[in-house]
């Protein structure tokens, strides 16, 4: 059981770290959001799964509650993370940040 939890934490931390590197490597706000949303959501699924496994493995009311709350946090994360990224991208576009190195920009042509 411990090994499973360590493996889940390892996968999750790898992807979360990748998201942090993506923030540093990419050139503008839109490409950075790619790294920030995808990698951190996927990484957080695995770290939360590790918490859920730990909670159900320890057992008892307190740890079962921990696991249930982690499941609810996971659902909230899955809904709010892409929504927040969409809000940031839209706000950035509205306030005049153009995508760097863009080969095509249909949103520009609309206005």
């Amino acid at each position: 059981m411990n090994i499973l939890i360590y493996v889940l934490f390892g996968i999750g931390l790898t992807f979360n770290g990748l998201g942090a590197i993506a923030l540093l490597r990419f050139p503008d706000v839109y490409t950075r959001l790619h790294g920030a949303t995808k990698a951190t959501t996927f990484g957080s699924i695995f770290t939360t799964a590790a918490v859920i496994a730990y909670g159900f493995a320890r057992g008892g009311p307190a740890f079962d509650t921990l696991a249930i709350h982690a499941i609810i946090a996971l659902i909230a994360l899955l809904i709010t993370n892409p929504t927040g990224a969409h809000a940031i991208a839209r706000a950035a576009y509205r306030s005049g940040v153009k995508p760097k190195y863009a080969v095509v920009d249909k949103l520009e042509e609309k206005k």
């Binding site: 790294g35 095509v104 949103l107």
Partner: protein
């Protein structure tokens, strides 16, 4: 009235999940059951107009999401194609982080979805899947503006950007 009852019921179920394992009365203590009932009645009275807002014209049935078949399809979608493409998208991001090969651009797709729920679901799915991020939505006809990290075709069809997702979303939400 039905909207109020449905909102109250969903709030009560959420409260019960949140306070599971709290006591001796089954899984819950009596105090939690009563407090949850009172609080979810208040939440239902406050929130039912928001939760079941009148959507756009041409809306079939606002209670369609309570259909259990749609729930099952949603779960299959979440575990199957959605999780798979999310894993793929992470390796895609990893590849682009390491090599720095990007060819970004904002493209427009017309998935042809009519309901607000469907468009929301598709936009969130697009954000979490390979190389795409939804930036803006055209509220009149439901077109999505998508930031694509590796533009292959400046005028793509929905299938090129997001695979079979529009079909799944149509089955779940329309």
């Amino acid at each position: 009235m039905l909207a109020f009852l449905a909102t109250t019921l969903v709030a009560y179920i959420l409260y019960l999940i949140l306070t599971m394992f709290s006591g001796s009365f089954g899984l819950w203590s009596l105090g939690e059951l009563i407090a949850g009932a009172v609080l979810s009645l208040i939440a239902g009275a406050v929130a039912f107009r928001v939760a079941f807002a009148k959507e756009r014209a041409g809306e079939a049935n606002i209670f369609r999401i309570f259909n259990p078949v749609r729930f099952i399809i949603f779960l299959v979608y979440l575990i199957g194609p959605f999780f798979f493409s999310m894993a793929k998208s992470n390796f895609d991001v990893a590849y682009r982080v390491i090599t720095g090969k990007i060819r970004p651009g904002i493209v427009r797709i017309s998935p042809g979805l009519k309901t607000d729920l469907g468009i929301t679901l598709l936009a969130n799915s697009i954000t979490l899947t390979p190389g795409t991020l939804s930036v803006d939505v055209d509220e009149k006809n439901g077109d999505l503006y998508v930031h694509w990290i590796n533009v292959k075709n400046p005028e793509p069809s929905p299938a090129e950007v997001c695979g079979s997702f529009p079909d799944w979303v149509r089955r779940i939400a329309e």
